[in-house]
Symmetry: C2
Subunit: 296 residues, 2 copies
């Protein structure tokens, strides 16, 4: 983030850049099979805050990442995120009709198409990284961290733990492990990919990991807070569904006030981890403030 | 295939090798989340003829591929194949209860778990390739061809075309395009990955592509023939379901006799494409005979 632009300007320009990268790297709607490619764009381009791409771009300012590499990383991780949302919304999972204020993919198209959309968005994520315009080592490193963060020991595994525990009394450490896998791993991965593209040292990567782990946890706590305190229109998805499904949450385990306090403390610790990067980490710092203060 | 062992011996030893590679490269059942990892192994290790791994190993005999690279390639492509079967069997797709003579994953576990099993097997495929013990170029090349063969312009795209055409009058060229994407792409990919691991020249890769395209088409024609002429127990899956679902097939478009004749001609052409490889291509030749003559 240059010293000459404000964070709102950075945010607007990088959100736009993430949309442009998605538009450029997804298959055109006219590509056969057209209905599938339309549905893939519907799923990936239907708005959203683009938090993961923004984390990629922000971490990409810490070193010498090329713009094209960051665009590939940002798009790949957003494809993974979009695939997970499409599959989560299916009737056999959360059975949700509303996502980002619009009908979910299986409502706008059909269930079988939604299944294939998720499958093909995941494949495209890895294809984009394999074909990215950077060194073979950077590409393979990004593919490895994305696979680890999204597979059975990451996001998909967190989903499985979530499913197993509906209606059960998960304790706080169990809840943290579940969220660390289900949402934390992919948020951390976004920051890592930006760092890999920037050719950071191992010590620098450790600082980034510390930042992203604290931030991921704070983000999920706030998600649980908002699920209780906000309405569906503001969230762009169905509010109160965790309580309705009797799922354990930070709010149900900690209470609302303590959950908010914890999120604030984690935010402070996350930002402190960026100290050694100086002003290069301004965008990462501002994103941490934005992600934890949302809904205020 | 060494001159000193017979093809049945080669087949038995390489089928076993493919099982061992799967066992070594899939996460252990004891890894958390245990239920998901158990279900992933149930899906991938439940038998099957291992045609794609065998094609990888057979093509891997044409050059200087390392055993570890071939094991990674064989396991990755079998993970993709297994994921596609798990998702295809779901109620919103083919709604099948039987696969390889056992309950399908969503019957043995549940739908949500089956969805995650497919998702996570796909991820694992790319992770295995990214971490394979060979040059960065070979790894990236294998990831690229696997993504292209399995994504929206390959297998998943073929599925989408198949869905769109249930009950419609797809003509022969439409049917061929659909099958080339739905099953042909992954069979070709198996051969290609073996060739990439063997560091073959571009001209040699062209011969392999010719072989695998003819073989893939012949294989699908025979699949349609067997769907009509065989029973569920012999197939290990529900027989007669294409006709029951009013799907166009080679048999419904060509008639049984002509379909069989076409498959034989394609088999001969596929084998002819291997001429320049001499005795190194013995296993590929025998696999073509096996794949097209099955059910006889």
């Amino acid at each position: 983030m240059s010293e000459f632009i404000s964070f709102p300007e950075w945010l607007a320009s990088h959100t736009q850049r993430s949309e442009q990268a998605l538009d450029a790297l997804l298959d055109a709607e006219a590509t056969i099979p057209t209905r599938l490619h339309q549905a893939m764009r519907y799923a990936a381009q239907g708005g959203g805050k683009r938090i993961r791409p923004l984390l990629v771009y922000a971490a990409g300012e810490l070193g010498d990442a090329s713009p094209a590499t960051l665009d590939a990383a940002a798009t790949a991780i957003e494809c993974i995120h979009a695939y997970s949302l499409v599959h989560d919304d299916l009737p056999c999972m959360d059975d949700d009709d509303l996502r980002r204020g619009r009908p979910t993919v299986h409502k706008a198209f059909d269930e079988a198409t939604a299944l294939l959309v998720g499958d093909a968005l995941q494949t495209r994520a890895f294809e984009i990284l394999a074909l990215a315009d950077c060194s073979a080592e950077v590409r393979l490193s990004m593919i490895s961290v994305l696979a680890a963060a999204s597979g059975s020991r990451g996001m998909a595994g967190g989903q499985a733990i979530d499913l197993e525990n509906v209606g059960k009394k998960l304790d706080l450490s169990g809840l943290q492990q579940m969220h660390a896998m289900k949402t934390g791993a992919l948020l951390s991965c976004a920051v890592q990919m930006g760092g890999i593209a920037s050719h950071l040292s191992q010590a620098q990567m450790m600082h980034l990991q510390n930042y992203s782990q604290k931030l991921g946890l704070a983000f999920q706590i706030i998600d649980d807070v908002l699920d209780v305190t906000s309405d569906s229109q503001t969230l762009g998805k169905t509010a109160g569904k965790d309580a309705a499904q009797d799922k354990p949450t930070y709010v149900s385990l900690m209470g609302l006030d303590y959950a908010r306090k914890q999120a604030q403390e984690l935010q402070v610790e996350a930002i402190a981890s960026l100290a050694s990067f100086g002003s290069k980490a301004l965008a990462l710092k501002e994103l941490a403030l934005l992600m934890v203060n949302r809904g205020k």
